[in-house]
Symmetry: C2
Subunit: 277 residues, 2 copies
């Protein structure tokens, strides 16, 4: 496994990779969810590239950029073991040199949910992903369903800007108690960690109601809110039941719907989602 | 020479082009200026691709989109004769299908000059050029110095988004009387066409003053305004003497400066520029 940091080194190493290239962009602090993306890429592509970059432009001024977990040696060891061919871990000065002033923005899809609550977040995401795509030149790129809106926004950007890249969205990996894997789970103290299963339990409760025939979106949202209210350590930020394509809120679930939520456990913000239908 | 319109056809034809690919994006209505870009591409690259697309998103609501000259058969004959390998002439529905919502925007450089007077113009330009780059995947792309700010904005976008493409800016081609070649010259009636040399004459007057030691930017702008005032058919929209890198207006010309202007001849808007220093 090769590990490079500059773009010229990356381009050189990229050129020597044989066959189709699968790409997994990450912010490091890797967990089994990331490794499942690597496995999917290995199964479908001759070569696998992973980037590690904690992208400052997708964090708001009050968010957790400075305390975001970083452990490059540990990440590299995990990726080597997972059979990755090339790791690119650029510095901030490589990605955002002085004078940087170009942004990629997806409009309608970013007005809801995470985009509404984290202004500028998706502009940072789409800009850095466009840069990563142009630097790595992959054939396929892998994203997790845990960040459902991000996956939808990246798919939209890729199609709209004609990137010659297939976006693959892989299922959310969960701990044995149902908590969706996330680098931010490392922030939780033991009590919060135990309470954090409320996201999965709340979504499961709404899903059970949906399976029993409850298709009223307001009722499904209420199932989530009611469940979260039973957990004193959790504070619900939003619950959404939206069209899976447009992410517009629904009155009634007819086609595919995204049931998604954000919860604060202390200062830590967690998100999760189920797809209905 | 191959001529394709859909993106799948383009990708297929692109894959069979040998060696380095030079790319000349155009809005058609070709003239010798475009052909000089093709010649530069042929001199430097094994294969040459030209796109023809009148991009609606770079025209303002009051601008000349509907009357912009279009003559595909004539353009194709010119490009065939010029030795182009592949022409891509997509329709609007190919470039902006329903649901399109992603934009590429360069910030500081687009606040001045054309960007200030044509709101949204450069957002349309950078978005379509990013799309063209991703569809054509060239090694080099060729732009004319006549659209000086456009060239600067595209260079900035290419660097900021890490496109693996070298941007080549070629000199402005002029008619024998000095008028910069432009597809919009076709709008001029004979009297306007004759009067349109005022742009070149005004820039030349300011250049002569600069060469004689006048480095005060206000004085250089005044030379241009005074010259344009002598031509009753011309109405000056702006004259700028700006830093060639940042496009910020200067007080004194010290390094490289862009002396640029826009003039209305009737309803037709013409631009031109000289680089000083």
């Amino acid at each position: 496994m090769k590990n490079v940091s500059s773009i010229p080194e990356l381009r050189l190493a990229r050129r020597s990779l044989p066959g189709a290239v699968g790409f997994v962009p990450t912010m490091g602090a890797l967990h089994a969810g990331h490794l499942s993306l690597v496995q999917a890429a290995r199964a479908e592509c001759a070569s696998v590239v992973v980037s590690i970059f904690v992208n400052p432009t997708q964090f708001g001024p009050q968010e957790d950029l400075s305390r975001y977990p970083r452990d490059l040696p540990r990440d590299l060891a995990m990726l080597e073991k997972a059979g990755v061919d090339l790791v690119w871990s650029p510095g901030e000065e490589t990605m955002y040199p002085p004078g940087f002033q170009t942004w990629v923005e997806v409009e309608a899809l970013t007005r809801h949910l995470e985009g509404e609550l984290r202004p500028g977040h998706f502009r940072g995401v789409t800009t850095v992903v466009a840069k990563l795509f142009n630097a790595v030149l992959p054939d396929k790129a892998y994203f997790g369903q845990k960040d459902a809106q991000q996956a939808a926004v990246i798919q939209r950007m890729t199609r709209d800007l004609d990137f010659p890249i297939k976006i693959v969205v892989c299922p959310t990996l969960r701990e044995t108690d149902g908590l969706a894997m996330s680098s931010r789970n490392a922030y939780l103290d033991p009590a919060q960690r135990k309470a954090a299963t409320i996201l999965f339990r709340a979504l499961s409760a709404a899903w059970a109601a949906y399976e029993k025939g409850e298709h009223d979106a307001g009722q499904l949202r209420a199932r989530v809110s009611e469940a979260v209210a039973t957990e004193p350590l959790a504070r619900l930020q939003y619950v959404s039941c939206a069209d899976a394509g447009s992410l517009e809120e629904l009155a009634t679930v007819e086609g595919k719907a995204l049931l998604s939520m954000a919860v604060y456990m202390g200062k830590t913000r967690l998100i999760d989602n189920f797809v209905l239908g």
